[in-house]
């Protein structure tokens, strides 16, 4: 086992006790990156080689120099008897959707390929202030618009470490890959419909979408501003809690960041699940997708392996003292994707307006005298397919004559989805749940190229995760074994607003109870 394979908490203890140095930890990560990552994503990838298909391509930008300076700084602080912070020396990666001063911040789009951020996003600044070492910026779907990382303008896109012919999920694909393969110990991603939880599930990692506003969005290039949540991806629940401790909290630069006092998510992490009420809902064991021929909505059961895993998880939790509540109705779950389709695209189209070629980012090289033509060409050449589709859809459903029918209606659906959760979690209600246990994804990692191109079907990969984004509640995805093809299966815990501590506690209880299980010992393909 290399240093880079340790958990964040293990590693930082070794570093703080000066058993190993932060520079050694960094070198371990860099070595792993060189071994498994292959070439970074680029705008001019050329032909995909056989080698490319076996490597991970998590990174867009590796900031080795910067990381080394920071690691040296941590070591110097320790040598001087100073405290470099609770994550001292822990290497982490950043989804390339967060601004970090002096580093390229691309959003995986050609339109921002040349943009170097002049300031640092709050969660990244907090990680660095806690002594963590940023390794670089990792790949994602362009502007986070996808569930497979395939839509990145920077190719080759990231691949799944468990099987490199599979997608890693998305949009925080590079984040999940880098942590799964030991390139980084932690990563920060963002979750707008499942973009942390789904890639975490596909890559066998722990991913937390915190309560909306729990983590500041300042410095995060916006996708759907009312849905976006930055959050951790880690290899275990304890690391997730430790990272949340650092990145959560009020921020005077984000009006929507909650002003609750800081909470220690590690404190009661191992207090067990005795007496906790954990629900199962039939509405999370089926998915509704539109029939490609008729467009009619049809319900399909989930793959049996996935449902079985969830039920086994529930049984295990019951054996640990949790009360399992079956048949909790969540009737509006099936409308999550259509409502998201509308709301996220209205916000996305508006959020993309600023990329006009005037101030920063890509501008058409053609000489231009007409302003509108300059806008059209700069945006036409700079944006990939997904941003264009989302602009078209977003502009359509928010137009004066359609807004009532689509956008306003989607907002009502959103409120109904929120109400489903409120009823399930109501302390005086029928179910009184502490958490709802569901599958994270309707399938395990699908093959690269299989779904890409079908924007609607791709969106349905988020069906079981998106309700939490609509409702603003936290969701935690934890690994719960593998399917018959050796691909990780994730299960999800959803809880009321600000219940991260409870969700992490349940996740940790499950983790502790399964430490010795055989599937826990399996390593990703690229590390075998």
């Amino acid at each position: 086992m290399q240093l880079c394979d340790l958990s964040a908490l293990e590693l930082t203890i070794k570093i703080r006790q000066r058993e190993v140095s932060a520079v050694e930890a960094l070198d371990s990560s860099l070595e792993r990156i060189r071994a498994v990552d292959g070439r970074p994503g680029s705008l001019k990838p050329g032909q995909l080689t056989a080698e490319d298909q076996k490597t991970l391509h998590a990174f867009i930008t590796l900031t080795e120099e910067r990381a080394r300076r920071q690691a040296e700084n941590v070591d110097q602080q320790l040598a001087a008897g100073e405290d470099p912070g609770p994550l001292a020396g822990v290497p982490f990666t950043v989804k390339d959707l967060f601004c970090v001063q002096g580093t390229p911040t691309t959003a995986a789009s050609r339109i921002l390929a040349n943009f170097v951020a002049p300031y640092t996003a709050t969660p990244i600044a907090r990680m660095e202030a806690a002594g963590a070492i940023m390794l670089g910026k990792v790949n994602l779907d362009e502007f986070a618009y996808g569930s497979s990382t395939e839509s990145s303008a920077f190719q080759p896109a990231a691949r799944n470490p468990w099987n490199t012919s599979r997608v890693p999920g998305g949009s925080s694909g590079g984040s999940a890959v880098s942590v799964a393969a030991g390139e980084a110990v932690l990563s920060i991603g963002t979750d707008t419909a499942g973009s942390i939880r789904q890639p975490a599930a596909f890559c066998g990692m722990v991913g937390l979408k915190p309560t909306y506003g729990r983590v500041s969005r300042y410095g995060l290039i916006a996708f759907g501003s009312s849905l976006d949540c930055p959050g951790p991806i880690a290899r275990n629940v304890s690391d997730t809690a430790a990272m949340l401790n650092i990145i959560a909290g009020p921020d005077s630069r984000d009006n929507t960041a909650v002003t609750l006092p800081p909470e220690d998510f590690l404190e009661k992490l191992e207090s067990g699940v005795k007496g906790m009420r954990i629900g199962l809902s039939p509405d999370y064991f089926r998915i509704a997708i539109p029939d490609p021929q008729t467009g009619e909505y049809c319900q399909q059961p989930l793959p049996e392996e996935i449902e079985t895993r969830v039920r086994q998880t529930a049984e295990l939790l019951a054996s640990l003292g949790a009360i399992i509540v079956d048949d909790v109705p969540m009737p509006n779950t099936r409308y999550g994707i259509p409502a998201f389709f509308v709301i996220s695209r209205v916000e996305a189209a508006s959020n993309l307006h600023r990329f006009d070629g005037v101030k920063y980012g890509y501008r058409t090289p053609q000489k231009m005298t007409d302003l509108n033509k300059m806008y059209r060409l700069s945006r036409g050449e700079g944006f990939g397919l997904q941003p264009k589709l989302r602009i078209l859809m977003g502009m359509y459903v928010s137009a004066a004559q359609y807004s009532e029918q689509y956008y306003q209606r989607a907002l009502k659906v959103r409120a109904m989805i929120r109400r489903d959760f409120e009823q399930a979690f109501d302390k005086a209600g029928k179910y009184q749940l502490d958490a709802l246990l569901t599958p994270t994804t309707p399938t395990t990692a699908f093959s690269i190229g299989d779904i890409y191109g079908d924007s609607v079907l791709m969106q349905f990969a988020d069906q079981l995760t998106v309700p939490a984004n609509h409702a603003g509640i936290p969701g935690l995805s934890i690994p719960a074994g593998f399917d018959g093809q050796g691909l990780p299966i994730g299960v999800q815990l959803l809880g009321p607003d600000f219940s991260e501590a409870s969700l992490l506690r349940i996740g940790r209880a499950y983790e502790m109870a399964t430490t010795e299980e055989a599937w826990r010992q399996i390593k990703p393909q690229v590390l075998r």
């Binding site: 967060f98 601004c99 911040t105 959003a107 921002l112 943009f115 951020a117 002049p118 300031y119 996003a121 969005r217 300042y218 410095g219 995060l220 290039i221 916006a222 759907g224 501003s225 009312s226 005077s252 630069r253 984000d254 009006n255 929507t256 209205v346 916000e347 189209a349 508006s350 993309l352 307006h353 600023r354 990329f355 006009d356 005037v358 101030k359 920063y360 005298t369 302003l371 509108n372 806008y375 502009m395 928010s398 137009a399 004066a400 807004s403 956008y407």
Partner: protein
């Protein structure tokens, strides 16, 4: 021939005089700063930034709303108004749409003929300003300094019926804004901007006809002129069988003419939606109470009260309430004086206001405090000094900051009312001017004034002039 009346609605943009911009910590005011020197990632819309509302902007808007008799809303929202323009760095403007900070309200305009015209307000909303674009030699220059400056947009209903009323509305609004201390309200500097919607109809008709919108009017006079020009154009158009089109017109103040900016046949679709980056504005009773704790008496009320309480003529009351610190100065002086407030008004309007104009400062910045003015008036009343010395004292106090009594004492300015002292000087003047004495005695009695002047000069202005006159006429009769 048909008689027409003009129907006008005014849309004003008021720049609030907050310290910082509405959503970031840049200074709000960039006057005379070089382009793009008062900007930050937030107001220039860099990727990833978020707006943070400036509470002072909300508070000033609530103060204005209250002064306009509008209803501040306990819950209001910010929205995005989406459109592309190079000086709008985010590609949307953060504004308020269907749930503004305040609705309704009115402003009463006292008209010169004694009537009062009430102009009702549709709504007031908060928004951020955009930057400035300058076209020069085929190039387009953008200055982001103004991005994010807090504005209140206030829209009247089509209640205004003449160019004069429109001018009066703006005059009164400007007075009110300065009175409340929420905007510098300088139209030339763009602190107060106005677009006028103008239509005409036959007198007596209640219809609202197609209107044109006049933009780019930078002074109250320009608003008046532009409305007059446009009204005439519309009448000519209709009279000649033409049709009014919903144009947007640009006012050229040099040529005193309007020209068409664009046809406005279809409304632009701004795709408004709630700004997800900002929480709703909850204006609870506590906050509102705190905001309005020092809410002042408004100019028109104060004007009326000055007429009622201090028995001032309307003209005086109007002048003294033209500006808040002047009105407060007057009231403080009148109370300290306790005598005839008209005296205070006279001294203020004649002498003190001249000092204010010369120094270009508000009354609150005078070193001559209201108590000083009252003291001078009392000294004059008590004949401790004469009127002329009193007026000189105003300047001496302003210059030195010392109290009038101190100056009188130090400079020996007290009026001499001692009969023998004055008599001695009078005798001396008579003795040394035999020719004038002769003329006077032979009937040219008006010369007595000249003698008084000589005595005053000899006594450096300190003599009681009445007493000097009396003694002189006594001596000259001998």
């Amino acid at each position: 021939m048909t008689e027409y009346e003009v129907v006008i609605g005014l849309e004003t943009h008021i720049q609030l005089n907050t310290q910082t911009k509405i959503f970031c910590s840049c200074k709000a005011d960039s006057w005379e700063q070089p382009p793009n020197t008062n900007i930050c990632p937030v107001c220039t819309g860099l990727p990833g930034v978020l707006p943070v509302p400036n509470e002072a902007a909300v508070e000033k808007a609530v103060i204005l709303a209250t002064a306009m008799h509008a209803e501040p809303q306990s819950l209001s929202f910010f929205d995005r108004k989406n459109y592309f323009y190079p000086d709008l760095p985010k590609g949307y403007q953060i504004t308020q749409y269907d749930r503004p900070i305040a609705v309704g309200g009115y402003l009463d305009l006292p008209m010169p003929d004694g009537r009062t015209r009430r102009v009702t307000i549709n709504k007031l909303h908060l928004e951020e300003d955009a930057g400035k674009t300058k076209n020069e030699k085929g190039k387009r220059y953008i200055d982001f300094n103004r991005c994010g400056v807090p504005l209140v947009e206030m829209v009247t209903n089509p209640d205004i019926r003449s160019a004069d009323e429109a001018a009066q509305y703006l005059t009164r609004l400007r007075q009110l804004l300065r009175w409340l201390g929420i905007s510098e309200a300088d139209m030339e500097k763009g602190h107060l901007r106005c677009d006028a919607n103008v239509s005409i109809r036959p007198k007596g008709s209640a219809e609202l006809n197609t209107k044109t919108e006049i933009k780019n009017v930078n002074s109250i006079d320009a608003v008046r002129s532009a409305i007059l020009v446009e009204t005439e154009r519309q009448i000519r158009e209709v009279e000649s069988g033409g049709e009014i089109k919903p144009w947007t017109l640009d006012w050229d103040d040099n040529r005193k003419s309007l020209h068409k900016m664009r046809s406005k046949e279809t409304e632009a679709d701004y795709r408004y939606f709630r700004e997800p980056d900002l929480l709703p504005v909850h204006l609870d009773d506590d906050w509102k109470e705190r905001i309005l704790a020092d809410f002042p008496e408004l100019p028109l009320a104060r004007r009326q009260r000055f007429m009622d309480t201090y028995a001032l003529p309307e003209y005086d009351a109007e002048v003294l309430t033209s500006e808040r610190s002047l009105s407060e100065y007057f009231e403080a002086a009148a109370q300290a004086y306790g005598g005839d407030a008209k005296q205070v008004s006279n001294w203020l309007m004649n002498d003190v206001m001249r000092m204010l104009n010369d120094a270009n400062i508000p009354a609150s910045q005078l070193r001559l405090r209201p108590e000083h003015l009252a003291e001078i008036l009392k000294l004059v009343d008590a004949k401790a000094i004469n009127n002329a010395i009193g007026k000189k004292l105003l300047k001496k106090v302003e210059k030195s900051g010392k109290s009038p009594a101190e100056i009188v004492e130090a400079e020996g300015l007290a009026q001499v009312s001692d009969d023998s002292a004055i008599r001695e000087i009078c005798q001396k003047i008579i003795d040394s001017n035999p020719a004038e004495v002769e003329s006077c005695r032979s009937g040219k009695e008006s010369l007595i004034g000249w003698f008084v002047g000589q005595v005053m000069r000899e006594m450096r202005g300190k003599a009681d002039p009445q007493m000097a006159r009396q003694i002189l006429s006594e001596l000259l009769k001998q």
